[in-house]
């Protein structure tokens, strides 16, 4: 089903058909879902599921091969003392660390853990199309199986939607069938829920395989109402087109409580079909250790401490 032909007027017409969002109502729905109490067996399931959905991330200027190798080993075997802990969903690094990550994962038993590269002049997206193209091509050549691109927020906010659309379409073309494309909306800069809804549909229509909340470099990032809006968008898009698009919240999900709230949002919005790493990922770094500590508490019956997880 063709929702838009990519021209400015066609995109604008399409986006105008979308229902408005009431901010207070959306906040209230997210807040109500946050009161779900997930305990005992459902908590065990939720923790392991969350672990398997993590895109374990390091995106710092100071990243070194050593740092990247450390998180890759962690990704394969999050808890050295417990082989029943599932491996994470993916590794997420800058372009020039992709090969190091891929090699390390392959060497430590992580062949089926994909490497995602951030691309298109992440995090700002302020560069020419040529630079964004080269950024993406390099990542894929180095072995990235997932591309996390950023949209041009300046173009979105100034009403140049065709530019936003065409860039996504273009990068998707480069990805082809070699890599899946996550489109980062940077919801903190879009601010309104109406913008988040519109940007979600625009990205999906242009070819996104996943829509992602944030770069993690801007607050607010993956707030519950924003994730709610995006889950509603993929749910509605599926009803319109038969295509399931994934959602990735990133930034601000620091502990087990936060992660479980995300799973509840998925469960009661898009539905249980989205509760797997193919359709839901969590971009995080510190979260993994908190999940492990909570897992240990349930396993051992007492609270664990930071000495019992690895600091990478």
């Amino acid at each position: 089903m063709i929702l838009t032909d990519g021209s400015e007027s066609s995109i604008k017409s399409f986006l105008r058909t979308l229902s408005p969002v009431d901010q207070v109502g959306a906040d209230a729905r997210a807040a109500m879902l946050a009161t779900r109490s997930i305990k005992t067996s459902s908590k065990v399931w939720a923790i392991d599921t969350a672990i398997s959905m993590i895109d374990l991330t390091t995106l710092e200027g100071a990243d070194t091969p050593g740092k990247v190798r450390a998180i890759c080993t962690k990704a394969v075997r999050p808890d050295p003392s417990d082989p029943t802990v599932p491996h994470v969903g993916a590794i997420c690094v800058y372009n020039d660390m992709v090969k190091i990550a891929r090699d390390q994962l392959d060497a430590s038993g992580g062949k089926d853990i994909p490497v995602a590269a951030v691309s298109t002049a992440f995090p700002s997206g302020r560069a020419s199309l040529e630079v964004k193209q080269r950024d993406t091509e390099d990542a894929i050549a180095n072995g990235a199986q997932e591309i996390d691109m950023v949209i041009d927020r300046g173009a979105f906010l100034s009403g140049n939607l065709a530019k936003v659309y065409s860039e996504i379409e273009f990068i998707k073309g480069i990805c082809g069938d070699k890599a899946h494309l996550k489109v980062i909306l940077e919801t903190g800069e879009l601010v309104t829920y109406d913008n988040v809804r519109k940007a979600s549909f625009l990205a999906m229509a242009a070819g996104a395989d996943f829509i992602k909340t944030s770069t993690g470099k801007v607050t607010p990032a993956a707030t519950a109402p924003v994730v709610l809006i995006m889950l509603e968008a993929v749910r509605d898009y599926y009803a319109m087109t038969g295509k399931k698009i994934g959602v990735k919240p990133a930034g601000g999900i620091r502990n087990t409580k936060d992660a479980i709230k995300q799973l509840v949002l998925v469960n009661e919005t898009a539905g249980p079909e989205w509760l797997n790493p193919q359709l839901f990922r969590i971009g995080a770094s510190a979260l993994l250790n908190d999940l492990l500590l909570q897992r240990m508490k349930i396993r051992d019956g007492h609270y664990a401490g930071p000495n019992y997880v690895t600091l990478d």
């Binding site: 229902s19 408005p20 969002v21 009431d22 207070v24 109502g25 959306a26 209230a28 729905r29 009161t35 779900r36 109490s37 997930i38 305990k39 005992t40 067996s41 459902s42 908590k43 399931w45 939720a46 599921t49 509603e232 799973l263 509840v264 469960n267 009661e268 249980p272 509760l275 797997n276």
Partner: protein, 479 residues
């Protein structure tokens, strides 16, 4: 991959149930003069909770006498600021004992712990806090420079929000300088009796608040008592009319909060996902046991199909079950009698040709339960479009133009509440202007606040509760 939520029960250990409760008269718990009692049960499992005293005529007389003494000797002489401080104390103690009240309310009423914890109890405390601040500011309230209370007021409250309705009645009554004899509903006396303990903890002078448990007869005794000049009643329209008849020709004043058949109007440009939440909240919150429930969905015909699809999908997520489970959305129907009423009216809907839909729902074996339900193909003449069901049952009616929406919304003897869903501000204000309803929610529903006056037009009652306007009921000669 399904995400099952394991049971997450709230512990009842925080509640110390007594086997038997007395009447709260003149600051003490006393048995009924003739020793009569009746039982209250947990409607979610039909288990016996406690015995409470049954107040007969001499008990009611004692309570009124205590309230009168307290008024004359203490309360009317107390500086207003000090009166206010008692109310602040009560508010703070309710906050301190919030969990205890929330669990007890859920056990006695059948409503989910999430609602008692997040709505009922906090609002009740807020009501006392808000009204505490009015006690010494009445001369600024636009009710005259020296407004005077009635004296002893008689208050009769329903079972749907027991503690909250108690706070709606007692807080303004005390703030304005009255003393109180209050009768909680027959099936939900326990939080009122626990409230009596709070009055003791707050050091409230004996006789200022009196709680008499009983049934309709006890209520009549209060209404007809010669020393009660002011009655406040929340309950059914039928009983409300009975009270109005009883006081006709006397000098007694009454405020009445009665039934409703609220229209929730959805225009084509409504924010659809939030609207679905608003519809759900409007009729399934508190099991639909809400006088201001949005029990009629008036949907613009051109979006009816889309809206109902989304509504069905959302209703399938409603979790019905143990009210003390923190994940329960829909609790038990308050009593066998109420369940019978719901079934009777639903039966009429089936018989009159409307089409019924509920999601698949496992009802527990014991207790009183009804699944979330809506009817389509409803016309204005159907009983389910006109009579208050007071349960989780929604009647869906369509309209084509805003004028038609107004006509259908207003075409009822009730006039308590309405909802408006649209993206257009001017349409919200136009629709609100034309609706004959005392409380109108736009792009939201079932929001309550001590500062916001609540009450109905037409047969939904007399007077308002809450806000500046709600003080009027408790001051002599003020409207």
């Amino acid at each position: 991959m399904t995400f099952e939520y394991a049971p997450a029960p709230e512990s009842t250990a925080v509640v110390k149930l007594k086997p038997e409760y007395g009447l709260f008269i003149n600051g003490k718990f006393v048995p009924a003069k003739d020793g009569k009692t009746f039982a209250t049960i947990n409607p979610a499992n039909e288990q016996h909770l406690a015995k409470v005293a049954y107040a007969s005529e001499s008990d009611v007389n004692k309570a009124v006498a205590a309230a009168n003494e307290a008024y004359k000797k203490i309360w009317s002489k107390m500086p207003a600021a000090e009166r206010g401080k008692y109310l602040y104390r009560i508010a703070r103690i309710l906050q301190e004992r919030a969990r205890e009240f929330a669990v007890l309310e859920s056990m006695d009423n059948g409503k989910p712990i999430r609602e008692t914890r997040d709505v009922d109890i906090p609002l009740a405390a807020a009501h006392f806090f808000y009204h505490a601040g009015w006690a010494d500011k009445l001369e600024h309230a636009g009710m005259g420079s020296n407004p005077k209370p009635h004296g002893v007021v008689g208050q009769i409250i329903p079972w749907n929000f027991p503690l909250l309705m108690l706070s709606w009645k007692i807080a303004p009554a005390l703030a304005t300088g009255n003393t109180v004899v209050l009768k909680p509903a027959e099936t939900t006396p326990l939080t009122a009796l626990l409230f009596a303990e709070v009055c003791q903890q707050a050091g409230l002078p004996a006789g200022v608040v009196n709680i008499v448990t009983g049934d309709g007869k006890t209520g009549s005794l209060i209404v007809n008592h010669k020393d009660i000049q002011k009655i406040a009643f929340t309950g059914s329209t039928a009983v409300g009319k009975g009270i109005a008849r009883a006081i006709a020709g006397t000098k007694k004043a009454a405020t009445l909060e009665l039934g409703g058949k609220g229209a929730n109007i959805v225009f084509e440009d409504a924010p659809i996902d939030e609207t679905v939440e608003g519809i759900i909240n409007g009729i399934f919150f508190n099991q639909g046991h809400v006088c201001c429930a949005g029990s009629r969905l008036l949907v613009q015909e051109n979006i009816q199909e889309e809206l109902l699809e989304k509504l069905k999908r959302r209703m399938a997520l409603i979790r019905l079950g143990d009210p003390l489970d923190k994940n329960t959305d829909l609790g038990a129907i308050n009593s066998a009698a109420q369940l019978a009423k719901i079934r009777e009216l639903v039966g009429s809907g089936d018989a009159e040709g409307a089409e019924r839909w509920s999601p698949a729902c496992d009802l527990p074996a014991k207790g009183f339960w009804y699944p979330p339900t809506f009817f389509t193909g409803v016309t204005q003449a159907n009983r389910i479009a006109r009579e208050e069901i007071f349960g989780p049952v929604l009647s869906v009616i369509s309209f084509r133009t805003p004028q038609e929406a107004i006509e259908k919304a207003n075409n009822t003897p009730f006039g308590l509440s309405a909802g408006i869903w649209t993206d257009k501000g001017s349409r919200i204000l136009w629709t609100a202007k034309h609706l004959k309803a005392g409380v109108i929610w736009a792009n939201t529903f079932n929001k309550f606040d001590p500062a916001s006056p609540f009450g109905g037009y037409k047969e939904s009652g007399w007077g308002r509760e809450g806000g500046r306007h709600g003080l009027a009921a408790y001051l002599k000669g003020v409207h």
